[in-house]
C-alpha cells in the first residue's frame, strides 16, 4: 500500500472513535442544552433559557467559586510541597529515592472513591484519626463551613506525590557539571537554586502544573464519597453540580448548558496555556 494512503488508514479508526465518542456527544449535548429536558415535563425547545437560568442561579456561582478555590489551593500546595520535598530528597537522601518513590506511587492509583472513603474515616468526628492526632474530639472537619478546605487536603494528599515524582526525576537529570561549574563560579546555594536549578527544570514544572490543573478542574469522585457536596452545597464543585443537576435533579438541559459553558472556559484557559507551552518547549 502507498504510504500516503496507509497513513490515513492507520489513523482513521482512532479518529472515527474519537469523533463518535467525543465530538458527536458534545454536539448532542449542545442540542440538549437548548431544550427543556426535565423529568415529567414535555420536551420542548427553549432557546437560551437554560443558560439564562444558570446565570440567575446562585448555586452555580457557588460551585464556580468553590472550584476556583479548590483548583488554586490544591494545585499550588501540591506544587510547592512536591518541589520542596523533591529538592530536599535530591540533595540529602538520593540513595533512598527509589523505595520512597515506590511508596508514594500508591495513592495516585487508588480510586478517588476509595480516597474519599479513607478521608471520611480520618475525618470522622467521633473516632477519626484527624481529631485523635490533634488531641481533640467531636470536631467535624467536613461538617462546618470550612468543609471545602478539608476536602482540598484530601486532594493534596492524593496528588502531592505526583508533583514530587515528576520534579525529583527532572532534578536528577540536571547535569552535575552544571552544578559544579556554578560552585566554582562562587554561586551561593540560593543563587544556585533560583538561577540554575529552577530554570533548568522549568519545563517539567510547567508540564506537571498544567496536568494537575487540568485534572483538578474535573474533581468529582472524591467529593462524591467524602462529602457528597455537603454540608448543603458547601463542597460542590462545578463538576459535581453538573452531575447533581443531570442525574439527581434530572435537569438535563441546565446540566448540559453548564457543562458546555464550563468546557469552553476551561478549554480557553488551558488551550492558550498549552499552545504557549508547546511553542516554548516544543513538546510535540
Amino acid at each position: 500500500m502507498k504510504e500516503k494512503r496507509l497513513k490515513w488508514v492507520l489513523v482513521a479508526p482512532a479518529l472515527i472513535m474519537i469523533i463518535s465518542l467525543i465530538v458527536f456527544p458534545l454536539f448532542y449535548a449542545l442540542r440538549a442544552a437548548l431544550y427543556l429536558y426535565r423529568y415529567g415535563k414535555p420536551f420542548r425547545f427553549v432557546g437560551l433559557q437554560n443558560f439564562i437560568e444558570l446565570f440567575n442561579n446562585p448555586l452555580a456561582l457557588n460551585a464556580v467559586l468553590n472550584t476556583v478555590i479548590y483548583v488554586i489551593i490544591a494545585v499550588s500546595a501540591e506544587m510547592i510541597l512536591g518541589l520542596v520535598l523533591a529538592m530536599i530528597m535530591n540533595r540529602e537522601l538520593r540513595g533512598f529515592s527509589r523505595p520512597v518513590r515506590a511508596a508514594l506511587t500508591i495513592p495516585m492509583f487508588i480510586a478517588p472513591v476509595v480516597v474519599g472513603i479513607i478521608w471520611r474515616m480520618i475525618y470522622n468526628p467521633q473516632y477519626g484519626l484527624f481529631d485523635w492526632l490533634l488531641g481533640i474530639r467531636n470536631f467535624a472537619p467536613t461538617g462546618g463551613n470550612h468543609a471545602l478546605y478539608f476536602v482540598i487536603i484530601a486532594d493534596i494528599w492524593q496528588w502531592t506525590p505526583f508533583m514530587y515524582i515528576i520534579i525529583l526525576a527532572s532534578l536528577q537529570s540536571v547535569s552535575p557539571e552544571l552544578i559544579e561549574a556554578s560552585i566554582i563560579d562562587g554561586a551561593g546555594q540560593w543563587q544556585r537554586t533560583t538561577r540554575i536549578i529552577l530554570p533548568t527544570i522549568s519545563a517539567a514544572l510547567i508540564i506537571a502544573f498544567t496536568l494537575r490543573f487540568m485534572e483538578a478542574t474535573k474533581a468529582l469522585d472524591i467529593i462524591y464519597t467524602l462529602t457528597f457536596g455537603g454540608p448543603g452545597t458547601d463542597t460542590e464543585t462545578v463538576g459535581f453540580m453538573i452531575f447533581r443537576l443531570a442525574f439527581n435533579d434530572i435537569r438535563i438541559g441546565t446540566a448540559t448548558a453548564f457543562s458546555w459553558l464550563y468546557t469552553i472556559i476551561i478549554s480557553i484557559i488551558l488551550g492558550f496555556f498549552m499552545n504557549w507551552l508547546n511553542r516554548r518547549y516544543e513538546i510535540v
Binding site: E3, V11, Y28, F109, V114, N275
Partner: protein
Amino acid sequence: MSSNPSRKRLVRLAIVILMTAFVLAYLVPVYWIVITSFKPESKSLTWPPQFIPREVTLDNYKVAFQFKSVFWYMKNSLIISTGSVLVSLVFGCLAAYSLAKLRWGKKGKQNLLLWIMGLKIMPPIAVAIPIYLIFIKLKLIDTYLGMIIAYIFFNLPFVIWLAYGYFKELPNEIIEAANIDGCGFGRLMGRIIVPLTTPGLITVFLLTFMTSWNEFLFAVKLSAFRVRTLPVLISGFIIDRGLLWGQVCAVATISVIPVILMSLFIQRYIVAGLTFGAIKG
C-alpha cells in the same frame, strides 16, 4: 556554616524525620483501611484508635463474598477494563505509528496531536451526560459493550500520546531496512515495532487499565444492575447502606491490592506515563 559537622548531622536528622513523616502519611491511611477490614464491625472505629487490632476476624470478607459477591463486581471491572484497554491499545498504536513514522506535514501532525491531547482538557461529565442519553436510545445502558465503548473516551487519547512518544524514539533505519527486505506492514508491526517497544507498551497497558479499573463517573451512570463495577459498589456503601466501615474497608482493600501491585511494575516508566510522555523518566 555548613562545615560544622554536628550541625550538618542535625540537619540531616531533621530531613530524615521529615521524609519519614511524608512517607508515613501515605502508608498509615492505607494500613488503616486494611486493618479496619479485619476488625469486627462493632470495633471498626474506636477511641482511641487501635493501630494493632485486639480481635482479628474475617467476618467482613465473608459478608463481602456472600450474596452478590465482590467477585461478581470484580469480574465486571475486569471485563470492562480489559476490553476497553485492548481496543484502545490496538487502534491507538496504529494511529500513533502512523503519526510517528509515516510522512505527515509538520503542521498537520502537530495540530492533530495537540487536538487529541486537548480532548483530555474536557471534563468527563460534559461527555458523560450526552453519552448517557445516546446509550439509552441505543439500548447500550447496562451492557458490557456500552461500558467498553464509553471507556475508550479516556483511554484512546492517552494511548496515542504515549505510544507516539515511544515509536518516535525508534531509529528510522530499522523501518527502512525492513521495507527494503519486503517486510509488509503487519509483519513490521508484529516482528519489529511492538517487540522493540514492549516495556513501554506494557506501561501504557497498565496505566490505562488502572484508570479504567478506578473509573467511577461513567460506571455509576451507564450501569444499572448487570455491569456494576467495584468503584460503584464502594460508593454505594456510603449512600444506601449507612456506614458499615468494616465492610467498606474489606471491599476497598480488595479493589486496591491489584492496583498497588501493578504500580510497582511500572516504576521505571512512571514519569513518562504520568506526563503523557512529555518528560522522560
